[in-house]
């Protein structure tokens, strides 16, 4: 337990010091996105990594948070700090309501249902033009501020976003090591056995689905207030798949895996930018290789890979 805390503190310190190394500029903007994506990946990991329930519609919850925050502040003149929890509460309720029928489904059927849900939300963003501005987006969203401090630069927003991301990490760390975390993993391993010892699988799945949606919504609100402009394109099916990739590449059911996945998938396109038209090929190839050789994800992959290499070497020597 103490070790977990130390690990977290080291991680938090690392996050705080990173901006000093890159001296502002474009990179800090990318790192800010790593923070937002970390929140989203952790949210999806709670559902997929722990409870074993897939969602292909999480970009929808992210978008709902962003749009609700945007609309409440721009159109109705709410205070952003009020709009954020209001959006989160609304999204949580919606996810809870949708969760009851949807989470009755399993496997591929659940994937299809959440996929449909995500697409419907995306269509709503595009079509309700008076409300959302449609495909051309919603602009003029106010930055967040505390007193006279306005989060209007990438650097300030970096710390703002990472504050929330670190709270999310702590949150999921606590859940993972609790009776609820164990019950979720139990549902994943054997739902019938979990129910037989008294775990209300149905209710717990809906609860974690709603919590996951709430975290996505908060990340969406932060995104809207940092970018001051949002458009539906950021919240489509592609992004849901990207989130799923982050979680799987990072390591299902681990606390820091989603961060690693988010960091890799956010930074990789920037790193590969130099490879001109081949970047997408390299990107795809890297993902395939990683899934082949690190099926447990990055977080378990490196120790595992080292072990395997050592074994191979040992094997050769023996022969």
């Amino acid at each position: 337990m103490k070790r977990e805390l130390l690990k977290f503190l080291a991680f938090a310190l690392f996050v705080c010091l990173v901006p000093l190394a890159c001296r502002g500029g474009y990179l800090i903007n990318v790192l800010l996105f790593v923070g937002i994506n970390t929140m989203l990946a952790i949210a999806l990991n709670l559902l997929l990594g722990y409870a074993g329930q897939i969602s292909l519609g999480h970009a929808g919850f992210f978008g709902l948070g962003a749009y609700l925050s945007g609309i409440l502040t721009v159109t109705y003149g709410w205070n952003p700090w009020l709009a954020m929890p209001a959006a989160a509460a609304l999204v949580g309720c919606l996810a809870g309501l949708l969760g009851f029928p949807i989470l009755k489904l399993r496997g591929h059927y659940l994937a299809m249902a959440t996929l449909g849900m995500g697409i419907i939300i995306y269509i709503v963003f595009n079509e309700t033009i008076e409300l959302t501005g449609g495909p051309s987006g919603l602009s003029g969203i106010a930055n967040l501020s505390i007193g006279s401090l306005t989060f209007d630069s990438d650097c300030k927003n970096y710390y703002l976003v990472w504050f929330f991301a670190l709270v999310t990490v702590l949150f999921s760390l606590n859940v993972a090591n609790s009776r609820i975390g164990r019950a979720l993993k139990a549902i994943n391993d054997s739902e019938v056995a979990a129910r037989v010892v008294g775990v209300n699988a149905r209710l717990l799945k809906v609860q974690i689905f709603a919590l996951s949606a709430i975290i996505c919504s908060l990340a969406g609100s932060l995104y809207a207030h940092c970018m001051t402009f949002i458009s539906p394109a950021s919240f489509g099916f592609n992004f849901s798949v990207e989130l799923l990739t982050m979680v799987v590449i990072g390591g299902l059911g681990s606390v820091y895996g989603p961060f690693l996945g988010a960091a890799l998938l956010t930074l990789l396109p920037e790193i590969l930018r130099g490879a001109n038209d081949y970047d997408i090929v390299i990107y795809g190839a890297l993902l395939v290789l990683m899934v082949m050789f690190m099926p447990g994800g990055l977080v378990r992959g490196f120790p595992e890979l080292r072990r395997r290499l050592a074994k191979r070497k040992g094997g050769v020597e023996h022969a």
Partner: protein, 251 residues
Amino acid sequence: MLEVSGVSQLFGGVIALDRVSFTIAKGDITGVIGPNGAGKTTLFNIITGIYTRTAGKVVLEGTDVSGLPPERLARLGLVRTFQNIELFGGMTVHENVMVGMHTKSSSGLLACALKMPWSVAEERRIRDNSLKWLDFTGISDLAETTAANLPFGQGRLLEIARALAVEPRVILMDEPAAGLNNQETLALSRLIERIRATGITVVLVEHDMELVMEICDRIVVLNLGKKLAEGTPRETQDNPEVIAAYLGEDE
């Protein structure tokens, strides 16, 4: 204690159970036996809420529990184990038993996420108390082993330990001796007797006749979905109908 009355189950046009009734007395070890396809496992699945019965009633200590889902039954003190052991493979042995204490703890998702003082205290209580069941089943030294890596026999003990952590009034075991060697079976029968000694009523479906005859107080015999006989091991052993069902009628 546990009363099954007129339970029937249809699968399509097949009658898997036909108006089966019997009563299990508190503190007894009751064996449910019968040839393959007699409906034993179906009966277990109905009692424990896995299947919904077509007709009939299940009463637990005066409460009608027919049709309740397994998680509700666990809260009322009825648990089961499975023929093909169902463990939480990704977790350690200790954590498996800790899940068994789910109904004996109450911190919600938010309390856990925010690490409220009472949920921390509860977590400690779960961690400590669950060790007792590892001791009871004799697998304490495996506490930190991943459940998926356990040999079959110890997996079965873990499943029993996890069920006991629920602190049930009745435990139903579906073929607990299946896949065990002689020595393990012997240890199992001692364990079942110790479970009964703590005041828990035991019901088991079993094929190992030696085990059944040795430890059961009463036996219910099913054949082709019907109750064929009921009584002490001696009575059922001598019952010509039972002998006929097992050996085939000679005509």
